[in-house]
Symmetry: C2
Subunit: 464 residues, 2 copies
């Protein structure tokens, strides 16, 4: 038991929390071009903090987009395993801003929850790992593992430049395991290891009908309204009863879960009732023939995120808009191929469109799904660390979200990826009033301290 | 022939155009609460101008909303007919503002077209009537008719307070005919009299699913996305092949045009080809079994104007929005009842909604259709005036737009309503780059001068 680091981390909770506040105040929204100076500021803040706790070689390493902040501590010796920690310092947009109960970039604690954009996804989880490292280095003067830290700034825009960067720096990043803290557990006393992620194809469909907006009094009835056409097309992409996606070929490569996976799914305390309670929906529904746990992990989805165009202000405006658009993403599972799904989507949309509109389909993002070997020692050590940090054995579930880098790390570095998260399902990630449970933050620090201590022994036992 | 007023009006074209510029510069967008001071400013500008040309009793008359600007000239004597002129000084919003080639409230002449929000709908048409009156009064010192002028400020928000105001001021408004200049002709040499208007029911549907926005990675697949549900519901309101509205009961009261109407419809030079050319759509489509002219005048419609909610910014955001909404209007024809149609719409939407969403349907506006007796002397005088002003006999068509006050005037004042417009189908009313043809503006002034001259004789002949 790493008693000294644990005790020290408890004594420094206020300090670590205030350090996180400073990180959270920087509105590093990667999808907004105008936020570029803030992204750079967040990267610099992170580099200063990493150097401050004792990491070496700290640098803002350039990519074709925003920099990766890198640092390392390699003093554990050649026998000790090397752990690569990955996180991200960029955050989601904040709209609808009116729904925030406190300003989105002003860290505010209410009911032992820290509210701020990025609190859970992912600044809070990055901060707790750095706190664990700090506690170790301040007390023991060393870590039990060699540590490499890379924190990127483009995760929320699907990491367009990360694959190239990882391949370019393959030698620098060489490691025995990768740790990612960017996921949710099920409840404050129900830790969870994600042994996979869903992929994604995010597309935007735009229909152009008339050359300009028209007055619906002058032209209504004699031209196709692009929104009327668009809702018909979108409605035909998903069955209203079974919620099956109707894009031809969509399910062709979906692999059913194996027996082990089915046992793990059956253990999950996730049901329609739980989802309904967590979301506050009047009722829930999903793909016929699958449980809530399956729908959230091993089944693909199709979601419309917004429909730009026309008049959306207060009151009424009788316009037939020249253009109507929809932002649509599909979460993908093994063995669906994101580029193939994007092509199937585009073909389906175009085949459903009448001659009265011109269809443009743009790809906003593609990301691969991933699967991690449950039996890898780095994963088993994570299970022990959760037990120690939360006094509860973790459950295992493929994550419903998308972390494009997981498959990339496994392929390029040949190392298993450990997804040990500390968010909660009601953290409102990507939504107004995002928050982080302070209990999860503090337990997270201790769990990571345990993990740093447990990893060498687990790797040794397995002979890896 | 009123030679002096005509000659004077020609000499004053620049002056009348510049006066219109001043009117157009005031951004009197009635649907925007923040535009209230501008609406008041537009009303005051109008009152000053009406007093300036010699109208009496000019006043901003209060309503429960924005004021009606009233003025009169009653010096023609008890034997002369009394004409009530109606127009509006409010305008539509300007979004999408990026599509304007010149600033929306900066009058700009290009290619003999005056570009500005309100140029055609309706400030330009109000200005040309006032110019005609001015030309008469400056030259003859009197008008051939008694004239009452009422210009309202809430037409673009469906005139919520006008019915009450007209009923309250029934005596003040007593007249033999009503003139409205707020419609389009077919081309610069194809004048058109609208002998009817479509009604309207404008509704907003809002679906609430989850209590807050959700991350589609965390919850996608296990909850109904309100946008996915909404497109399914909306798609079921209109047949994708026939473009028939599928709301049960929608067509129950639609009266087929009579033989006279069918003859007039057959004379209209409106075809799918013309509509396609006017709108720039790749192809056009409408209700199966009806011609373009019928679809635009004697058939009802359903149009989606915009779908608020979710993420509509640049890039991608993977949100399952808590709410999704749609703004939908239906243009209505004899004998559909707007309130009944609104109720049928609400019932249909609610019956199509699954238990996973809460449905709210708000009525944003209801307006009655109207029909005018073609044989009324005031209409026949308008036909003669067009012939004199445009050197072309007008066609007759029920207007596709909505002027809620037409039915109200006919019922309350017992006077026929003459809809003599000077806009063109490509004027971009309600759209970016709204404009008015200067040729129409100048011909409009002369046509109204002719109308003032012709009306007394037409009324006398008919013994009215």
């Amino acid at each position: 038991m790493p008693q000294e680091p644990l005790a020290y981390s408890r004594s420094q909770r206020e300090h670590y929390l205030h350090t996180l506040h400073d990180f959270l105040r920087i509105p590093s929204i990667s999808t907004l071009p105008e936020a570029e100076p803030d992204i750079q500021r967040a990267a610099q803040w992170l580099a200063d903090t990493m150097a401050g706790i004792g990491l070496d070689q700290v640098a803002l390493m350039p990519t074709a987009g925003y920099p990766v902040v890198y640092g390392e501590w390699l003093g554990a010796g050649p026998e000790a395993p090397t752990l690569l920690f990955y996180g991200h310092y960029d955050v989601q947009p904040v709209d609808p801003v009116a729904e925030w109960l406190s300003p989105p970039f002003e860290p505010t604690v209410r009911n032992n929850q820290l509210f701020c954009r990025g609190a859970s996804d992912d600044k809070g989880q990055v901060a707790l790992v750095l706190a664990a490292v700090d506690s170790y280095l301040r007390t023991e003067g060393r870590l039990p593992v060699n540590l490499k830290v890379m924190i990127e700034g483009e995760e929320e825009i699907a990491s367009p430049n990360l694959t190239a960067w990882v391949e370019q720096h393959k030698a620098l990043l060489a490691c025995d395991a990768v740790l990612i803290c960017d996921s949710n557990i099920l409840a404050e006393d129900l830790p969870l290891i994600n042994h996979g992620t869903r992929g994604m194809a995010y597309l935007e469909v735009e229909l152009q009908g008339p050359a300009t907006d028209l007055h619906s009094g002058s032209f209504g009835g004699a031209v196709d309204n692009p929104f009327n056409v668009l809702v018909r097309i979108l409605a035909q992409l998903q069955d209203g009863e079974t919620r099956r996606v109707l894009i031809p070929g969509f399910y062709d490569r979906v692999a059913p879960p194996d027996a082990q996976e089915q046992r793990l799914l059956a253990q999950l305390p996730i049901s329609d009732q739980v989802v309904q309670m967590q979301t506050g929906a009047p009722a829930v529904a999903g793909e016929t023939g699958y449980t809530a746990a399956e729908r959230l992990s091993v089944r693909p989805t199709l979601d419309i995120h917004g429909m730009p165009g026309g008049f959306t202000g207060k009151g009424g405006k009788t316009v037939i808009p020249a253009k109507a658009a929809a932002k649509v993403s599909m979460r993908l599972v093994p063995d669906q191929d994101p580029a193939e799904i994007a092509a199937l989507f585009e073909r389906a949309v175009k085949s459903l469109a009448p001659a009265t509109v011109k269809v443009t389909v743009r790809t906003l993002g593609l990301a691969r799904w991933s699967l991690v070997d449950l039996h890898a020692p780095a994963i088993q050590a994570a299970a022990q660390a959760y037990q120690a940090g939360f006094q509860a054995a973790p459950l295992f579930m493929r994550g419903g979200g998308t972390l494009p880098i997981v498959a990339e790390f496994q392929d390029t570095l040949g190392a298993p990826v450990v997804m040990m998260g500390f968010g909660l399902p009601d953290d409102n990630a990507h939504a107004p009033n995002e928050k982080l449970s302070l209990a999860c933050f503090y337990r997270g620090i201790e769990t990571v301290i345990h993990y740093l201590a447990l990893l060498p022994e687990a790797m040794r036992k397995s002979g890896q």
